[in-house]
């Protein structure tokens, strides 16, 4: 125990209850349980994704030749909007019931804890979107060889989307009506991911090499993994104090 001149006792960091990996595991477990108890919130983005894709053949043309051309972009834009839709709830309920303040006070670094939250968000929105996309690709007459690339590019890309989106969600969580503002902040930042994601699928259709696109998606994800947690943590602190 350390003695403080004011007579307060301080716990050395080593004695803080629970180490980082325990805390992260607990965080992931808690968020997964909470999300899976609200099945609607997990399913809504998927239903939205399917619905938006359905609108395009109705609105533009059911001609398979035309659909094949625009399918990569359509699938990616719709998946991006579906991911955006789920962002507002990322920190909302924790903010409302005070859990977020507890996270700020926790001895573990807030950046790591928010990374765990983002990981759960990706597991329950990004990954299902990626798995569902090939099915919708069939409906948009996507050629057979490109389904794997579509799923892989979405799986990689949505992880970046979750990381970038979490910054916007953290910045707007303290605002009463942050929803529209959130999309204004986040969509411009999504554009590089969209370009390379849709580019990968397009390259697969045309029979070009997809590796370069996927590699850049991976690079974007790596940069996001390094930088985004700090921005998320700083933004959460701003939202809590404000």
């Amino acid at each position: 125990m350390l003695e403080d001149p004011r007579g307060l006792r301080h716990l050395p960091i080593e004695e803080a209850p629970g180490n980082l990996s325990d805390a992260l595991l607990a965080m992931v477990k808690r968020d997964l349980t909470l999300m899976l108890r609200h099945r609607g919130e997990v399913l809504n983005p998927l239903v939205f994704f399917a619905l938006v894709i359905t609108l395009f053949p109705i609105g533009i043309s059911p001609d398979p030749a035309l659909l094949t051309v625009i399918a990569p972009g359509l699938l990616w834009v719709a998946a991006l909007l579906a991911a955006l839709l789920s962002l507002d709830s990322l920190f909302r309920s924790d903010y409302d019931d005070g859990c977020l303040e507890q996270l700020l006070l926790a001895p573990q670094p807030l950046a790591a804890l928010s990374l765990a939250k983002v990981a759960v968000h990706w597991l329950l929105t990004g990954l299902p979107l990626a798995l569902m996309a090939p099915l919708l690709g069939v409906m948009l007459a996507l050629p057979a060889g490109s389904y794997g690339v579509l799923a892989l590019s979405l799986a990689l890309g949505t992880a970046s989307l979750s990381l970038i989106g979490a910054i916007g969600a953290a910045l707007t969580v303290g605002l009463a009506r942050g929803g529209v503002l959130l999309s204004l902040l986040v969509l411009p930042l999504y554009i590089p991911v969209l370009i390379f994601g849709a580019g990968a699928v397009q390259a697969a259709i045309m029979g070009d090499g997809v590796l370069a696109h996927l590699a850049i998606l991976g690079a974007l994800l790596a940069v996001g993994l390094i930088l985004a947690p700090w921005a998320i943590a700083a933004s959460l602190r701003i939202s809590i104090n404000g």
Binding site: I167, L189, I191, A231, I238, G242
Partner: protein
């Protein structure tokens, strides 16, 4: 050097020093802009391909330069504010955002006007144009976020974070859009590969660019000064200043 930087952080001192600097930048801006535009519009030779329509360049290029520099300055000011809590940096960032958005809009609009005679269309999904449009959205996001908070301190810090995140995105967008365009559509037109310019055309452009920068600095100083007065209105030195002026 450090004492100078510390002093620069004090609103009162900044208010005093900017009063001395400001007229010089206004004069420089006025001289450069008048000389530059007369030279550019009346004396520079007409382009052998585009005739006189190329003269839009003398507004378009400086505005595009500024649009990007202002975003970077805003992010740097945000960083300074976040790290050292220097209030003046945030005031400058706050007044720069609308200026940057305006410059982005001017460069987009003048580009569209220029596009009609040269490309035959108002808009192309060209790499440059698209990344400038996204820059405009980034500016609008920063301005909207700053306006959304009721507490000034939160607004300042949120806008700083967003400006810093946005500035990382700018080079990514710039290059990704380049690749996106060149990979899938043949580049029909490009504003990037300018025909090598003769000196008589390039010099007025340089003068216009310098003039735009001086204008921007003068305007930022002026607007930061009024922002200082607004935010520090409860401080004694501001009240004394107001009483002095009557």
């Amino acid at each position: 050097m450090w004492a100078f930087i510390h002093k620069l952080g004090s609103p009162k001192w900044f208010y005093a020093i900017s009063a001395k600097l400001q007229p010089w930048f206004w004069v420089a801006a006025a001289v450069l802009l008048v000389v530059g535009s007369v030279w550019a519009l009346a004396f520079a030779p007409a382009d052998y391909q585009q005739g006189n329509s190329f003269r839009i360049m003398y507004v378009h290029v400086p505005a595009a330069f500024l649009a990007q520099s202002i975003f970077i300055s805003m992010a740097v000011a945000g960083l300074v504010y976040m790290v050292w809590k220097i209030k003046v940096a945030d005031m400058a960032a706050a007044v720069m955002a609308p200026l940057g958005a305006a410059m982005t809009f001017i460069s987009l609009f003048s580009g569209a006007v220029w596009g009609v005679p040269t490309w035959g269309t108002w808009w192309m999904w060209d790499a440059r144009l698209t990344s400038m449009l996204i820059l405009l959205f980034l500016y609008l996001g920063v301005i909207a976020l700053r306006g959304a908070f009721s507490s000034r301190d939160s607004a300042s810090r949120a806008a700083s974070v967003l400006a810093m995140v946005g500035v990382i995105n700018i080079p990514i967008i710039k290059y990704s859009v380049d690749w996106w365009y060149t990979l899938h559509q043949p580049a029909t037109f490009s504003i990037t590969s300018r025909p090598s310019m003769p000196m008589e055309m390039w010099l007025p452009l340089l003068i216009m660019v310098l003039g735009f920068y001086c204008f921007f600095i003068a305007l930022t100083l002026m607007r930061t000064r009024s922002e200082i007065l607004r935010r520090e209105s409860s401080k004694r030195w501001v009240q004394e200043l107001v009483e002095e002026r009557g």
